[in-house]
């Protein structure tokens, strides 16, 4: 076919199809029944987009393109197939970082090609056009922030970097605003500079954007990482959109803008679930009291009762209803299969077993649902907070597995507490509460959990999986 018709008609139609597939894909991803199909539709849309871009190029030297795609596919697939369900949040953060740096690299490549290689005599805005020159700089800035921000989020999710605790530099707000200002200045200087002088400014902009990504993410606590990853996802969409302006491709502009907006809304939904404002999350330092005491009372535990699996099994023996509350500890201990085994044994004895899922349990919304689904726990048994909260009063036993802040009654009692107003699961209303936990160390909010001192609470210290295996053994012997 004539290459001209191909470029002017066929390729745009393919891009349009791709756009439509993305829209239906995202739409369906937001409904449980259609989610998987939605993901497939979006993937097909991406395939169309890639085919379209190859057709648009016509006959060129494909070796670098093919090589790059092959390497990327192998690395991406290897990560995706080998990652454990418990590490999904980290994986999403990592992929997001790659997306961000890709947009920055595209912009830098276009800049280098058009300005440095082809028009070394003129200025940047003459060679690229002012609009395109500005979007190149924005692409580099946003892409760079997304890249290092995502990597820091990844390390925090893994519990590295001060175990995910916020890192607060002195005068960090001034530093951040100063660097943001500097990045705009470097970008402006680069646009106005002559081709050879601009390289320094572009490199300076790239360096500052990478530093900004780090500085914007380190003050945020590990528990808030889901929100941050979601926000960075939104940024990577905007970065892709900017890259679309640079190469003059509406498909990138549309897909990037949709992901940017959808990511922002999702971020907002997550913030609402935690009863925090986005600004409050981003300013960071949650759980670290900058001075003054956060919440009355001492942080020492005075009257904690603990027991072993045998005693717990005896109480479970007579329970008619049991609610299991999973948290990040379950994921760490890889205890999702053990918990289902225990639930199956209890159900076989006629006990009613359900799961109470807090919206922000784990390191990412839906984290617990994914884990328990992996262990074949029926979807209907996982109840959301609003549904399960009225049930606790009539429940015999609650088993809390590696969750902490999401069951802390202080959230609704003490307005000065760092987690004041956060909706919690009312586990304390049940007749008996077992808390399976490795130690009395605080959760991400960094505060003591007064539930542990309640009369109806008993701690079972240990790794969630080992404790559950002990319980399974005891229940078997009943």
């Amino acid at each position: 076919m004539n290459q001209e018709i191909m470029r002017s008609t066929v390729v745009p139609i393919i891009y349009l199809l791709s756009t439509i597939l993305f829209i239906f894909g995202i739409k369906q991803l937001a409904r449980v029944k259609t989610a998987r199909r939605g993901n497939t539709l979006a993937a097909v849309g991406m395939l169309f987009a890639i085919i379209g871009s190859l057709l648009e190029l016509g006959l060129v030297d494909y070796r670098w393109i093919a090589g790059g795609m092959l390497v990327g596919t192998i690395i991406g697939a290897a990560f995706a197939i080998r990652v454990q369900m418990t590490s999904m949040p980290e994986m999403v953060a990592l992929f997001n970082g790659f997306g961000g740096i890709a947009s920055a690299l595209v912009a830098t490549s276009v800049y280098w090609d058009v300005v440095v290689q082809r028009a070394p005599a003129g200025t940047v805005y003459e060679a690229l056009g002012t609009d395109e020159a500005i979007t190149v700089m924005l692409s580099i800035l946003i892409g760079g922030i997304t890249f290092t921000g995502s990597l820091i989020a990844l390390f925090k999710l893994q519990g590295k970097l001060k175990k995910g605790q916020p890192i607060l530099l002195p005068a960090r707000h001034y530093i951040t605003f100063g660097l943001l200002f500097a990045s705009f200045a470097f970008g402006g200087l680069a646009v106005a500079a002559g081709a050879s002088d601009s390289v320094v400014w572009v490199l300076a902009l790239a360096a500052v954007s990478l530093i900004l990504g780090v500085l914007l993410t380190i003050p945020i606590g590990g528990a808030d990482m889901p929100v941050v990853v979601s926000l960075l996802n939104s940024y990577s969409g905007v970065a892709a959109s900017m890259a679309g302006f640079v190469i003059g491709n509406p498909l990138l502009i549309i897909a990037g803008a949709m992901v940017g907006a959808a990511g922002l809304i999702l971020t907002q939904i997550m913030c609402v679930a935690m009863n925090r404002s986005l600004l409050n999350v981003l300013v960071g330092g949650f759980g670290v009291t900058d001075g003054g005491s956060g919440g009355g009372g001492s942080d020492e535990y005075t009257s904690v009762t603990s027991c072993g699996p045998e005693e717990a099994a005896m109480i479970l023996e007579n329970a008619e209803s049991v609610i299991i509350i999973p948290g990040y500890g379950l994921a760490v201990a890889q205890a999702q299969h053990a918990v289902r085994e225990l639930a199956d044994m209890l159900k076989a004895r006629g006990t009613k077993v359900t799961y109470g899922i807090h919206p922000v349990a784990g390191r990412m919304p839906g984290h617990m649902n994914v884990l328990l689904a992996e262990a074949d726990v029926p979807y209907e048994e996982l109840l959301e907070m609003d549904v399960i909260n009225p049930e606790f009063k009539n429940t015999d036993v609650v088993i809390i597995l590696g969750a902490n802040d999401v069951v802390n009654p202080i959230a609704s009692k003490d307005p000065t507490s760092p987690i004041a107003g956060m909706p919690i699961l009312n586990a304390h209303e049940a007749r008996s509460v077992f808390v399976v936990k490795r130690s009395l160390s605080p959760g991400y909010a960094g505060i003591k959990n007064e539930l542990f001192e309640y009369d109806n609470t008993m701690m079972i210290f240990g790794d969630a999986k080992k404790v559950l295996q002990g319980l399974i053994g005891e229940v078997k012997d009943l």
Binding site: A43, M85, V92
Partner: protein, 117 residues
Amino acid sequence: MTLGPLLIGIYVFVLAGFVGFEMITKVPPTLHTPLMSGANAISGITVVGAIAAATTGAPTVANILGALAIVTATINVVGGFLVTDRMLRMFGKKKKPKALKPGAEGVAAQSREAVSK
């Protein structure tokens, strides 16, 4: 009124943004992670830009940057969609009759053990 390419681009950007806002309204918490991960894979669309940036075989700076962009964007796309599918597959699993394949179950459990060690 004639719109230059930049203004058309801005129109498209703003309107697509509204589409994005409208699509995500009530999302059950279960789907927050997969939705984020799927949207993240779509932001790998920048691979199209990367392909356009690495079109000659010559080892110039622009080409090397373009090729790097292809690698990273492809990781984002392929990994993102695969990982999302893996998560969603967990939700879609049929409740299989337990007694059907005890052997397979055992093997799966063993391999899980091996992985977790």
